[in-house]
Symmetry: none
Subunit: 304 residues, 5 copies
């Protein structure tokens, strides 16, 4: 497939990166059914780490098999597949060269009490497994986050030097931030901006609500129209260096297909780059999931 | 532009530094409209990290784009542009060689509760991005600051060995120091002095009030006339090894242009080296900001 | 000085380099009287190593002092000053930030019998001395060159990672290559091309004659019009990735000013980027040298 | 100056140290007006870090300039000058070779609440700045001190391997030790002994009172005559391996000249090696300070 | 001893060096009877390595003992003592701090056939032994010298970073250079210049004859008056960056005292910095040697 002007323009925004990083970003952006459009859908399967296998896969038992997810991402024509070390190791050879992979290098679990994660993979792993990027979660919201930030500083510098891209999951949590504020618009935009400042190539945040959480930020949002999800997406995109960094949105917990489609339309209309969609994919029966992903692709291609 | 005797005299004060550090200091001091005068204006854009993107940029939306700030620093003829990793990465190639950059290597955010910061960049980053200096914040005022001091000790030694200069933001905060005392004259002079003792080449502090906070220091200020801001600036300059180290002052929150101009006149009259002026720049419409910076330049050149 | 479109276009050719390298190339290309034109004149003073001090400097005794050359490069508005370690050390602090320097990191001497050089400086030296580039000589023409190529491979990789540019002096010599063939057009173009392939940012070769030395190459030059020096320069430029790499030409031994001027006109007309001119500078009395360099500047600016 | 038997005998006590350490100790012991006597006066200027610049220097404004202190130590014929990193950097080249320097590598400040200090310099800094020794403060008296002891263990081992001497400031503080006990004789002797056991070459403690603080120690001091300061000094000297380690005493806060002289006489008569005298020096007008130091020299030379 | 303007001016020439290197150069320049004059006499005792012990010491048997030489350098008031590792180790503790030492880190011997030397010491040795400088011999004159140059490049960079100075013995030898040419004026000046370009702080060469060896250099010496040894010394000094680097001359084989005195007068009158005088010292009976050195001191002080 020939490079498109749209993707070329996106790559040009990564002006400080070496061609290795650019090639890996290009691989993701030129992959699958959305290849060349500047839009992307990533399949993340780290739910097993976060919530345990049964909560993740019992509803669709074939999903216990890592190959299931590789194959799903390929068959659905997605842009990349993201997972923790063991799951990538379980399929990286079989599917080598068929789908860009993102090695999720830190992970939490349901039993951990603080807003932190364990390092569970490294840049060396990403290289030996042929991954295009590392993925890393930060929890902005408390001083505990400083440790996470310092870890991604080290990992990202190492990754950049060897041509691996960096994806940051930025999830506000902890400290003085109430649970109710985690999805606030101001909080989400701030979280996205921090990921950008930390040097992420691709930023992953949650779709924000229209709530403004921080007292000090209320004034900045006076007169701001956040009434539609598309407008809120557009604001988060602003916070990602006015669109100079790729931003994708997670859909959250499994929900009805129509809600998933509406989210995608809003992301598209607000200028976001796409979806990172896990549970809503693998917690559906395979045929159903493929159909849903096909429809999402058509939405991102402005065909629906 | 030929080296001026004024700048040469300043460089001579850095007598233990290698020519690499001196060249980077010279680049800053010979840059832009104040080049050669020994005065400098630095544009810092780390507000997005500290206060979030909306509070920083919503009032002047083009400022969401990192290139906006690089271009502003260049067009206004400023001395240097300071920002965290991601923002420098987003423009360092486009503007390579056009404006000295300072990589802010630690960062706080609105949600952190202690007086601390996360390391978010390193000397290797500064080299690959062509930066002239690293910037680092310390919070003198509590034992937490020891960790920050030990971090800058390591970073600064590494930077000096490879010809990169060090800028220390010294902001008293935390511990037993009440909020009301953070801007006190004795506290500001002390903070500046600690930065000098830590080996900073350029020291950044806030403009102090005439309040004396520390009980033990009151006697030392008996008979001291701190009635004008210029006199207080002169005292802070004393605390910076009697002028052997460059000291610049921040203007604080956005405020009226006249107040900004008066600050600059006081800095100049007190023998300070200049301003580091962020929000007062990018939270104004571009034309207005350029006009304000032009006037500041004229003030520092003794033309107003 | 604002970046010019011409220089911007040149920098864009170095698309795999980090912003640090670009900034150092920009410093050279924006320096002095030719700043912004895409043309450059470099003053190299390694003759003392190559031919001894008396043969180099006795005709103009002030040139025994390293400061003489720094000052000459500055006063004449040249683009950069290149010299071995000791000479850079002798002036790097006094002239810090006033002229980009190129640390010549290998050196030969009149008494060495093979086509080789000794490593006499390193990338760490370049950093501590504030140099913009390292300079390195290769002698394509015999297997001895493999060792030199392997050295520059290591040095250049290290330099690129820390933002230092690489200049390669490519002088065919040794092996089966007869003295008579060293200046041949095919040989010079080949030497330039090897430097480009080795990853040089700036390539320095000698002005070639119209002789074709290699029997195997004769066919390739059938029908090629190398009758004028400008056409031969254009061919060497072709060999430097069709102009994607900066190429400068040395003037060889001291000669009459008119010959120097004609060389410059030919380099300009053939699309070369400029001159590296040592003996023809410092073996003239200072006033005479300044006048000559001023005229060369005017030639490169198309004013003569 | 020829080595004296007195100094030779002192050096012989450092029987496990390499010649590099011995040479640096010899430099201090052979320097200035007391050179060769086995007595020494050290000028420490870390008060700015500990108490802030105004409390330290406002009473004698020229003392804001680091060069003032270097020059004072030289002109008064003192044995060494001790200061934190930035202050040494500010004068180390100008005064290179004129006065042995001691790099104070940890520092506290008035705002820190615990009995700890921040590392603010290292052995590499000491080497590049030409220092003869590193200086380090421990606060025996609480578990916090274990961290300090472990730091000096590392630093001192590194310093000894490269020929740099170690000076330990041993100040009992923190834990269960009441403020009232910090100057107790048993406490001071204990602090000195711990410094000796930690491997210090030069030990700095405060002049002790005749109070015995530790209940458990009272029995050991039964029958001990600590009625005169000289006798107490002699006891501290005992605690420093019976004189096998150099011990110097600090004079504490600025006080009347006669009290300073009496302290010196007592140190001398008790067999102490000298004074480390900061505030009592630089908080006097220069002429007055020089006269006082001259008199102290005469006291240590048994001339008064 | 107070720093003199003469020594200060010499130190200022080492503008790229850190205060550590400057302090060690200052120690040499302020030592002994010539301290402060800018002149120096160094006692080198590496003859045992080069020629064997009997050829070196049998004429004056006490010289078999390393302490003899340390004591001689001290008693004669010389500037420094240079020797290989074992000899420095044999006296470094006894004479610590009494005389600056130069650790000769490479050595040849009578049985080696090529123009090369073995590395026999390192910078770590210099530090643990308290040496002020390392000494290193190069043999310019053949490709074998490239290896030596690369060794001193590494050693000198390491030494400079830890504050140790570098002395280069530059002895033309080997390759196509006939024995008869080794002392030629053009050859000696060239050898001195190469040492300067390699970054030496102190250059040691032999006193040159008025012979011009290199055919290519003859023209450069046309009209040059090398008829007196003082004029030839002045020319070598020119080759050492026009006096920006210290140059000392060896006296060669043992010879009559009057010839030694005349050499010193010529070195002085030609602007050389002094003598490095081994065999002519220790191959004389001690009293005689002391008298000769005393007279040399008087010559360098312009008293004879």
């Amino acid at each position: 497939m020939t490079m498109t002007p749209t993707v070329k323009a996106i790559l040009d925004n990564y002006e400080s990166d070496n061609p290795g990083v650019k090639a890996n970003l290009a691989r993701i952006l030129m992959q699958g059914k959305l290849g060349g459009t500047g839009k992307l859908i990533i399949l993340p399967v780290d739910q097993g780490f976060e919530h345990g296998p049964a909560r993740s896969f019992s509803v669709n038992a074939p999903a216990y098999d890592p190959h299931y997810h590789f194959q799903m991402a390929i068959d659905a024509g997605l842009s990349a597949f993201a997972a923790p070390l063991g799951m990538i190791e379980a399929g990286a050879a079989t599917f080598a060269g068929q789908i860009p992979t993102i090695l999720k290098v830190n992970s939490s679990n349901s039993w951990s009490t603080g807003a932190n994660q364990a390092l569970t993979g490294g840049v060396d792993d990403a290289l030996r497994l042929g991954c295009s990027a590392i993925g890393f979660t930060i929890y902005p919201g408390s001083d505990d986050c400083f440790e996470l930030m310092e870890e991604i500083k080290e990992l990202s510098a190492e990754a950049k030097s060897v041509g691996i891209a960096t994806v940051i999951w930025s999830y506000p949590r902890g400290g003085d931030l109430p649970k109710s504020g985690e999805l606030a618009l101001d909080v989400g935009a701030y979280a996205a901006h921090m990921a950008a400042l930390l040097g992420a190539h691709i930023i992953k945040v949650k779709l924000p609500s229209d709530h403004i959480e921080q007292k000090d930020a209320k004034k900045a949002y006076e007169g701001f129209d956040g009434s539609t999800q598309a407008k809120r997406v557009a604001h988060v995109r602003q916070a990602c260096f006015n669109g100079r960094r790729i931003v994708v949105f997670s859909g959250g917990a499994a929900k009805g297909a129509d809600a998933v489609y509406q989210d995608a339309r809003d992301i598209r209309d607000g200028g976001g780059n796409g979806s990172i969609i896990g549970r809503n994919t693998f917690q559906r029966e395979r045929g159903e999931a493929l159909a849903m992903l096909e429809k999402l692709v058509r939405i991102y291609k402005n065909e629906e």
